[in-house]
């Protein structure tokens, strides 16, 4: 078990290439080049459409929806990627121009500008991911505020129905595809190579490309509000045949999902290869931190499941623009086929959005309670159990869909079974906290949220009635709280500065109270008879809805504390030491922020990652030139 990092041993640190002066600057990768490449590719897209339609004799030759689809949603983004320089290395390689395999000119950040270019450093990419996803988190949060404003009173206040349907559809899509999934990918991007003792991800250029796909997907979803007919309004689930017959905004969803999905798949492949091949010497699978385990299983889920949602959205788009009949009864299609394909991705997607959170929870709880993870192997195995079971439960979203009735009981069995590994995890966290005696616990208020967030997951896991409350307890309580916990936990490592702990606690309590006040009553009105996705409702629910709206504004406001804390601490916070939490895992054994290539010397892993309280226990040895073969247990 030796790592393949030898080729990086002789690298020289040097800054990025300087842009040339004069007109040649237009050819240099960057935003200036995108400024002309995007229109160029848009034009090429238009040309292809017009030529094909003219040649096929289809009228009108200039057809708005197809132009938008091909030129604006496919060709222009490719132009953006080409302009920013995501393809430069591969393009040179493909045409036979000289390339340097160990070219590190795109690596590392030496000034703030380096965060705004194609950068192959996994730490820079991690930060790019986090900044971008927080931007879309705020945008999607604003949309949720608008939804709650409309629902504060029965009757129609601010929006018409189509706009309202668009608001919650875009809210959900951005939160899922542009926040939760990529925010975890961003955190893991920063942390996983460090935890493995690797200098970077296995495919740094692919890593950069997968980041740059994200702004494209997010912009596409937001821009759908601007097209005639408004944003896509069939919900984030986009059920056919409704989505087939919606205004043009729908194709922005169809294509946005493709770009975001491609990004996920590439990152997941990158994680898999990195975790399998780039572990430091001595880092066996059973010595990997649980966050690495979590990302390993998540990546398997992404690689297997994501192509299904890509397929489902392509089918909807084909039904729409090519008049195929995948889901159109009139042409022999099968509407339920959409739901099966969609949920075959989207249920595993729940675990794609949960397992990295479980990983973060394990890290934080173990380090903060100064105790080994209770039942480490069972924790890792339960991740794998969730992975396998996660693929056999999709139809529990379809119990009332009209699918074959015999499917219901088997799906119920698997669905309930999945509560068992989830329960194991919760109980193991509890046991880790337990008997800790005089522990240094809860040094940060923000961290306990993960825990309390995890409890409702377990309680609500088999619940199928009050979906809106349930999904927010899972994704807000489970995913968002752990994302916040992860950001707080690794903030010193990422920025080299400490954040304001009092503001962190304030943020936690505001969020915790606002969250429960907003979403708990939703269970009640759901059970009593308020359907989801409605702009108007029975006046008997007026009081609760007003309460929920007020609570949700409070919840939205709590984010301001978080942003203020992050921005000021990043600039003015006290300098962080290398290992402020006294963690054993490898990322804490290097400086904060880490050197450009992470480790000056290849670390030797000699023990388990959570040996807190064990006298003389070590996870890894750095320095001292220890190059002898380390025994593998």
């Amino acid at each position: 078990m030796t790592a393949t990092v030898a080729s990086h041993e002789t690298h020289v640190e040097h800054g990025p290439r300087r842009p040339p002066a004069g007109w040649r600057r237009l050819l240099f990768p960057g935003f200036l080049r995108t400024a002309w490449m995007v229109p160029l590719f848009f034009g090429i897209g238009c040309g292809i459409v017009v030529l094909c339609r003219w040649w096929g004799g289809w009228h009108p030759i200039w057809f708005g929806e197809i132009i938008v689809l091909v030129a604006a949603l496919i060709a222009a983004p490719v132009g953006f990627l080409a302009g920013i320089g995501a393809f430069d290395y591969w393009a040179r390689y493909a045409i036979g121009a000289p390339t340097v395999p160990e070219d590190h000119s795109g690596h590392g950040a030496y000034s703030w500008r380096d965060y705004f270019r194609v950068n192959t450093d996994h730490k820079v990419i991690g930060m790019q991911y986090l900044a971008t996803t927080i931007f879309f988190f705020l945008a999607a949060g604003m949309l949720a505020m608008l939804v709650r404003a409309e629902l504060a009173k029965p009757g129609m206040q601010f929006f018409n129905n189509q706009t309202y349907n668009g608001l919650f559809s875009v809210h959900a899509s951005l939160m899922i595809f542009l926040f939760v999934i990529p925010a975890f990918a961003g955190l893991a991007n920063f942390v996983v190579p460090l935890m493995l003792g690797a200098p970077d991800m296995a495919f740094p250029r692919l890593n950069a490309l997968s980041y740059w796909l994200l702004p494209i997907a997010g912009t596409m979803m937001l821009c759908s509000f601007l097209v005639p007919g408004g944003a896509f309004a069939a919900g984030w689930t986009g059920y056919a045949p409704l989505s087939v017959h919606q205004p043009m905004g729908t194709i922005f969803f169809n294509m946005g999902v493709q770009w975001a999905g491609a990004s996920s798949i590439m990152t997941a492949l990158n994680f898999l290869v990195t975790i399998i091949t780039m572990r430091a010497p001595g880092m066996t699978f059973w010595r990997m931190p649980l966050l690495v385990w979590a990302n390993f299983t998540t990546s398997l889920l992404v690689v297997i499941a994501t192509p299904f949602i890509a397929g489902s959205q392509f089918f909807v788009m084909f039904d729409r623009v090519m008049h195929t009949s995948f889901f159109e009864t009139a042409g022999g299609g099968y509407p339920l086929g959409y739901q099966h394909i969609f949920w075959f991705y989207s249920h595993p997607a729940v675990y794609i959005m949960m397992l990295p959170g479980f990983g973060i929870a394990s890290e934080v709880i173990s380090v903060m309670s100064r105790k080994p993870i209770f039942g480490y192997r069972l924790m890792a195995l339960s991740l794998l159990a969730i992975l396998v079971l996660g693929f056999s439960v999709w139809a529990h979203h379809m119990f009332v869909s009209g699918m074959a009735p015999w499917l219901r009981v088997p799906m119920m069995v698997t669905t309930l079974l999945i509560a068992v590994p989830t329960g194991i995890k919760v109980f193991s966290w509890l046991a880790t906290l337990w008997e800790v005696g005089f522990v240094s616990m809860f040094v940060i208020g923000g961290l306990s949220g993960i825990y309390l967030g995890a409890v409702p997951i377990d309680i609500h896991v088999s619940d199928t009635y009050f979906i809106v409350a349930h999904i927010h307890y899972v994704l807000f309580g489970g995913s968002l709280f752990t994302i916040f916990a992860g950001i707080y936990y690794w903030f010193p490592k990422m920025t080299g500065r400490m954040y304001n702990e009092r503001l962190g606690k304030l943020h936690f309590w505001l969020t915790f109270i606002g969250f429960n006040a907003t979403f708990f009553p939703m269970h009640l009105i759901g059970v009593q008879g308020m359907p989801r996705r409605v702009s108007d409702y029975d006046p008997v629910f007026a009081n609760w809805n007003l309460f929920i709206s007020v609570a949700s504004f409070f919840l939205g406001a709590s984010t301001i504390v978080f942003l203020y804390n992050m921005v000021t601490s990043m600039r003015f916070g006290p300098i962080a030491e290398a290992n402020p939490w006294r963690g054993l895992t490898l990322e804490w054994q290097v400086s904060s922020p880490p050197p450009v290539f992470n480790f000056d010397e290849i670390p030797q892993v000699v023990g388990n990652p959570y040996e807190y309280g064990v006298p003389g226990a070590k996870h890894a040895v750095l320095g001292g030139g220890a190059r002898e073969q380390v025994p593998v247990d």
Binding site: N160, N161, N165, A233, G235, Y239, P241, L242, H245, Y334, P335, S369, R370, K371, P372, F374, G375, Y376, R377, L378, V400, G402, P405, R408, V409, M412, L416, A419, V420, G423, I424, F427, S428, L430, A431, L433, E435, G437, F438, S440, M441, F442, V443, L452, V455, D458, I459, S462, Y465, L524, V527, Q528, G529, P531, R532, R533, V534, S535, G613, A617
Partner: protein, 338 residues
């Protein structure tokens, strides 16, 4: 573990369980059941709630206890005792949830099977959903059509559903039964009403613009009242040819009031006042009616939101159908003004 701390922990757990029970019992969670199936589903709900309170009290009490009891003292930097696992404990907390979910599975499967058993001779009702209206047909009574689901109490009813356009979902909260209505499929739903009364029929699957307003009613009647209604003459509007039957078939009755068709909808403008509305729009009556059907957003009556009325009637209706519908509406409007 010391005995004292165990007692403390149990006390915290009892407090947590009490809090959970209070939240479960104090508000009126479930609507008053009005069908035999709802009663069974409510049983599963409370069964699950009990288990949830049990799990919640364990998790909450251990969390609270650990946080308070083992809080770090400000000057304490030492590690906790290195406990890596305990096989007995791990088996226990794998086994207990496994047993609980097995119990839940068995109970649910039995309830599901019972709820689906419609018996030998149920009353059959065909349900047709479309954007944004419900129609109910009674094959046993000459395919009598109704916009309101009328059911006899204590009789097993089998709804056979289909949709004309997109996926809808049929839900009566008091019946606790729900079924998606999918174009091209004919799923069934079994209901045995147990309580006379009027309950809402709600569409719960996002079906487009008017989704929030896609509501109807179900009226559960005594056997005799139902028989009388079922054998009564079909209202003229539902059987009559030409415009009035198109008005009914297209689901216009769900949203509009029109005395001539016996329609009492309140979502859209009152069609008995068409003449006045045409005047306000500044258009001749016949062309106003036609335009409002084909392009409803051209003029929207004050007080009604834009974009609720489906915009595809212009393509859905043939020219003859459209002409007949316009004639019917214009003639009824003229009668109304006289």
């Amino acid at each position: 573990m010391r005995r004292g701390s165990l007692v403390q922990l149990i006390l915290v757990a009892i407090a947590a369980a009490a809090a959970g029970t209070a939240i479960a019992l104090l508000p009126n969670w479930l609507p008053q059941p009005a069908s035999r199936e709802a009663g069974r589903i409510h049983f599963v709900f409370w069964f699950l709630t009990g288990i949830c309170i049990f799990i919640f009290s364990i998790v909450a009490s251990v969390t609270a206890y650990a946080v308070v009891k083992f809080r770090r003292k400000p000057d304490d930097d030492s590690d906790g005792p290195p406990i890596h696992g305990h096989t007995g404990l791990e088996i226990t907390w794998t086994a207990i949830p496994a047993i609980l979910v097995t119990a839940i599975t068995i109970v649910s499967a039995i309830v599901l099977a019972k709820d689906d058993a419609a018996g030998a001779n149920p009353l059959r009702v065909n349900v047709v959903a479309q954007q944004f209206a419900w129609s109910f047909y009674y094959p046993a009574y000459g395919n009598k059509r109704s916009g309101i689901l009328r059911l006899p109490v204590h009789r097993s009813v089998l709804l056979r559903m289909t949709s004309k356009d997109v996926v809808h979902s049929f839900w009566v909260p008091e019946f606790s039964q729900k079924q998606d209505v999918v174009p091209g499929l004919h799923p069934t739903l079994h209901i045995t009403p147990t309580r006379v009364g009027t309950y809402p029929v709600i569409c719960t699957e996002l079906c487009g613009l008017g989704h929030a307003l896609m509501r109807s009613q179900t009226i559960v009647m005594t056997e005799t009242a139902f028989d009388k209604w079922a054998h009564g003459a079909q209202t003229a509007a539902a059987v009559g040819g030409g415009g009035s039957s198109i008005f009914n078939q297209q689901g216009c009755t769900a949203c509009h009031r029109l005395a001539a068709a016996g329609a009492t909808g309140t979502i859209g403008p009152d069609l008995d006042k068409l003449a006045a509305e045409a005047q306000r729009a500044g258009k001749p009556l016949a062309s106003f009616v036609r335009e409002s059907i084909v392009a409803p957003n051209g003029y929207v009556e004050k007080g009604y939101p834009k974009g609720i009325m489906p915009q595809d009637f212009g393509t859905k209706l043939s020219k003859t159908q459209l002409d007949a519908l316009v004639r019917f509406l214009v003639s009824s409007a003229k009668k109304g003004t006289k």
